[in-house]
């Protein structure tokens, strides 16, 4: 019997399949797009194909993410805060502070070191500094989102961006390009701006992170530049699991397994 976790986010739909012993059998990430149910079906089918099992062999499904209530056949819908905490504990045991930056929101989660959430804080009002923000900035810079990850290398000017509103920051980036500012300086400035905002969120749940085990999950954790800037802003090392974007789905699969095992 298998356990399925589905994380329907604003940018990607992720699925993780666990076997009876809780081992990861397969993980998938597909774009969410406009049709949520199609994305769920594609992500689910992908893990079934990878594990070479049929849907009937899934014993329990738990969903998470902003679209958690749209996953049919779920036993439960659990928030991404709880699921990311569970997933991080499984991949990086002993995590005490988890930073999750997803497509449209960012979270700082204080854990007890055993996967239990003690406190959390989320971005307020707008999606500045999230995956959507980075997508818009990549568009303004005319680079791929993947390219953005390393484009800060060699920057030395400590450029400060004055706006974090996605619309205003995009105009600011366009102006900087027009002024002939090097792309790596702009990207480093963007990363610092995101890091500063997220560090403030982290300090709401952990005023002093020194000595705490800090980890990062969510799609933005693939961006090494942001991770480096965040590490510098918090003055601490940040661990990132191999597949940071499937941490939430893994957490959901773990909750699914816990629900039925004694």
């Amino acid at each position: 019997m298998y356990y399925l976790g589905v994380d329907l986010g604003s940018l990607s739909c992720d699925a993780v399949l666990l076997d009876h012993d809780g081992q990861i059998m397969a993980a998938s990430v597909v774009p969410t797009g406009a049709r949520n149910r199609e994305a769920i079906a594609r992500a689910t089918q992908a893990v079934l194909d990878m594990a070479r099992i049929s849907e009937a062999e899934i014993k329990v499904t738990v969903s998470t993410g902003y679209g958690r209530d749209r996953v049919d056949g779920r036993l439960a819908a659990v928030t991404e805060i709880t699921c990311h905490a569970r997933g991080a504990q499984a991949l990086l045991p002993g995590t005490q502070v988890l930073i999750d930056i997803g497509g449209q929101d960012s979270k700082a989660i204080r854990l007890d070191g055993e996967g239990r959430v003690l406190e959390f804080a989320m971005n307020d009002k707008c999606a500045a500094g999230t995956g959507r923000f980075l997508e818009a900035m990549a568009r303004a810079l005319q680079v791929d989102i993947e390219e953005l990850c390393e484009l800060d290398q060699g920057a030395a000017k400590n450029l400060i961006l004055s706006s974090m509103c996605t619309v205003f920051a995009e105009s600011e980036v366009v102006s900087l390009i027009a002024d002939g500012v090097e792309v790596n300086e702009i990207v480093a400035g963007l990363n610092r701006a995101i890091a500063s905002r997220i560090a403030a969120l982290v300090k709401r749940v952990a005023p002093d992170v020194s000595g705490l085990k800090v980890a990062m999950s969510g799609g933005v954790a693939h961006n090494h530049g942001v991770v480096r800037a965040l590490s510098s802003a918090l003055d601490t090392e940040i661990s990132v699991p191999l597949q940071p974007d499937t941490v939430g789905a893994l957490g959901a699969a773990l909750v699914a397994r816990e629900r039925v095992l004694p």
Partner: protein
Amino acid sequence: MKQYFDDAVSILEARLRDNYTARGKYNLELTRLGQRLYSASHRVALCGVCAPFDLLNAMGINSCFVEFLGGFLAAAGSAGPFLEEAEQIGFSAESCGFHRTAIGAAAKGMLPVPDVVIATSSPCTGGVAAVEHLAHTFGCPLYVLAIPPDDSEKNVHYLADQLRSMVDFVAAHTGVTLDEDRLRDAMHKTNEAREAAIEVYDLAQRVPSPVKGIDLRAFGLVMPLFFGTETAVEILHAYRDEFAARLEQGIGGVPGERFRLMWLQELIQFKHPLIKMLERDYQAAIVIEELNNIYWDPIDVDDPYVGLARRAIAFPFNGSVDRRLKQIQKLVQAYKIDGAINPCHWGCRQGTGARGLIGQALKELDIPVINLEVDCADSRNFSEGQLRTRLEAFMEVLGSRPGRRSTN
């Protein structure tokens, strides 16, 4: 608006005849107040939150605070055009939605026309400016009650003198004088209502609590509109009897109550599914709103102005935030609270400014708090999914605390 209230009163009266409930009685009396405010045949005062409504009731002046009207329009789902109107005449969309709604409604001719307006410096200076703006809009006289921050004897007498002067001001502009016997009677009624409210709140503290949903929504803030009248006593007795009956029958407000929550500041006024979601999915009851409390001593009927001044000064949002924190901590213990929800009403400097200290005060008692970003009167900025995720995650955190059955 008059026709709306006339129709609503008829409907609520019929409904109450079929099924008498305390909330039904309260809603009917609020609607009757609206009917009088919009009748054009009653004397009307638009006021700040901390105005002495018992004094005005004793004078036969129909009155309410402007945030009440803003909240009423938001609850009716009608605030949108008024908010836009206020923004079009220059009010920032980041300012208080209650004030914007009232100002926009006044500009569109949808507010009752007052004979006088009475601003109160507490709970917020934004409120003073909003009331002053209404005085200009309606071209009517303004009286400002400056409520001191602490209850030193000098301050109490300073405010008591202002209250006397306010009565003279109202009399001068309405032609209605305050009869001494009516004043005594009103103060007796206020004290009677105070005793009944204490009984209601004592019952609400029981485990499980008889309170459900919006039973006591904005109760502590709005009930003072009826102080000094028999209506206040009747409403409170209805609640007392209903809660006592529920407890006697072993009926909790939220079946299978698992979590007891405190709601800070004011509730979200427009329609939303979050409270029902908390009750249905987590068996979480909002057993106390921060202002549902009697924080003042009985009024001395022989020296009412001093007692009324002490009451206004004791308002939890007045003066140092320390007063508010002490009350919150006291209520947390009295109501055996598991967690607190702080909506941090946008544009409210008093509310959001105290956020850090409130969090700290609750932490001292090991009570988790969730801060929400919302304008309680402006549904245009309401993101249900975002707030739902925060509340659900908060309930998961509460459910996973030691000694709790996990909700995950």
